[in-house]
């Protein structure tokens, strides 16, 4: 089966600051590819380049059989590629429901949007109780749920999650991953940046290790476990 997303030799970065120096990865139609690596070595930059938020300098991105290298962010979202950004990135002075609806910005069918909203509330029932509250008044865990729910509202096929467990208490992380597991079993594909080793081993099928703008190691979760050193070196020896 062909890959859902594949990219070859990506070069990209910020003004006067190259970050990615030839990154190639492949993401299958289903399952989870995890991206790990030390801070500041280009994980977020790779996600931004794949979503089209940062322009590609060199290389090629193929998504769902189409050349996506020059597509706008909007076109990529339409094609089913969605990026849930790192950190607290909500529309803070909007209600929970308005935040979620922003995720379906490109959808126009009312019934379809209502259905997606119901799905998001079913996945995160807590959000339903808080639908009319401003996002700024939520707890950190609830805010993360809104971020993920908002991403789902686009009905993407591939969801790119940038550190979904960042800054959350273990119990909340657990709850987030219960939801992610559900989505995964419904056939969504994920590319996630994650630093929590136990979450990684449990959720990811394959791991990519990024260092200084290169992918320096790739393998299945089992291989990573066996090779021991890799996770130890890069995740601080848990």
């Amino acid at each position: 089966m062909t890959q859902l997303l594949s990219c070859k030799n990506l070069v990209s970065g910020y003004l006067n600051r190259p970050v990615l120096n030839g990154v190639s990865i492949e993401i299958p139609q289903q399952g989870v590819l995890a991206l790990i690596g030390p801070n500041g070595h280009g994980k977020t930059t790779l996600l931004r380049t794949l979503s089209g938020y940062l322009p590609l300098r060199q290389g090629k991105i193929t998504f769902d059989g189409q050349d996506a290298s020059r597509m706008s962010v909007q076109k990529r979202v339409q094609a089913g590629l969605l990026h849930v950004p790192q950190g607290d990135q909500l529309f803070t002075e909007m209600t929970v429901e308005d935040n979620l609806l922003m995720g379906a910005y490109l959808a126009s069918d009312k019934a379809e949007i209502a259905q997606r909203l119901a799905d998001a509330y079913q996945l995160f029932p807590k959000l339903k109780d808080r639908r009319n509250q401003l996002a700024s008044g939520l707890s950190a865990g609830e805010r993360r749920m809104v971020e993920i729910g908002r991403g789902l509202m686009s009905d993407a096929r591939l969801i790119m999650l940038d550190e979904p467990s960042l800054g959350l208490a273990p119990l909340v992380i657990e709850r987030i991953y219960v939801a992610l597991d559900q989505l995964r079993s419904r056939g969504k594909a994920f590319l996630e940046v994650e630093e929590n080793p136990s979450r990684l081993m449990h959720f990811a099928d394959r791991l990519c290790l990024m260092d200084a703008g290169h992918i320096v190691w790739q393998g299945s979760a089992a291989e990573a476990r066996d090779s021991g050193d890799i996770l130890k070196t890069y995740l601080g020896g848990h």
Binding site: Q74, V77, Y105, L106, R150
Partner: protein, 252 residues
């Protein structure tokens, strides 16, 4: 009237993260457009009003298409646009002087007459202005709060990156906001000119007030801008009334 201008200015700053230095001239342009349309037709009021709206929206759109679009994504976007729109302001003012001359005109598109309100007489023009300003501000607020278009504008104002990642296009967003804010400026200009006179410089003073209001309300806070503007107007009216500032009674 300041309320309208402030709401428009605040809308631009909040969503687009820039100052539009030519905004005063957008107002003047609206006022002149109303004047010309009113002079040329049988329905001076309606056409004048429509002309002010259209002229304002049009200049907003043109500013985006001809200037701002090319600066999108540059590292010093805010500064670049500020300088460019300041330049645009000078050019627009010169064009207006060329066409209409530097003289003061009375606005033709106006409502005549007086109304008695509990023993106080007040010009119908003033009442109309208040009504129009309120309607447009509430209309803008409704648009922002209840439509997909408005939701995207608010989202962009709160978190540009996240909004882009949801598929909002910066380019389209800028265009729409400039059209809407330009339209508000056009109408604000028309209303200001009905209370004073038409001159190429008339946009300067209201622009300054709009800036003050925006700063007090918190730059980019559309709701606050509307409220503060009415507050400032009341304060001005009170000062004018009790201390005889000479500006006379100025509603809104």
């Amino acid at each position: 009237m300041y309320a309208l201008a402030s709401v428009g200015l605040s809308l631009i700053f909040g969503t687009l993260g820039m100052f539009n230095m030519a905004y005063g001239l957008f107002m003047t342009l609206g006022a002149y457009a109303a004047y010309s349309a009113a002079n040329a037709s049988q329905l001076p009021l309606v056409l004048g009003f429509v002309a002010a709206m259209v002229a304002g929206a049009l200049i907003g759109v043109l500013t985006h298409l001809l200037i701002m679009r090319f600066m999108l994504g540059t590292p010093d976007f805010g500064l670049n646009v500020m300088v460019a729109t300041a330049g645009l302001g000078v050019v627009l003012q010169d064009i207006e002087i060329k066409i209409y001359g530097g003289y003061l005109y009375p606005q033709v598109a106006r409502v005549e007459g007086l109304a008695q309100l509990g023993g106080v007489s007040i010009t119908l023009q003033a009442l109309t202005n208040v009504a129009v300003a309120l309607t447009l501000i509430l209309g803008t607020a409704w648009l922002l709060m209840n439509t997909r278009f408005g939701r995207a504008i608010r989202a962009t104002a709160m978190n540009r990156e996240a909004a882009m990642l949801m598929g909002v296009k910066a380019d389209t967003e800028f265009l729409q906001v400039m059209a809407l804010a330009g339209m508000l400026a056009g109408v604000a200009g028309l209303m200001i000119s009905t209370q004073s006179t038409l001159s190429p410089q008339m946009g300067g003073d209201p622009l300054l007030k709009a800036f003050v209001i925006c700063v007090v309300a918190g730059l980019g806070n559309v709701w606050g801008a509307g409220v503060c503007a009415f507050g400032l107007a009341l304060l001005e009216a009170a000062i004018g009334c009790y201390f005889g500032g000479g500006s006379g009674f100025r509603p809104c």
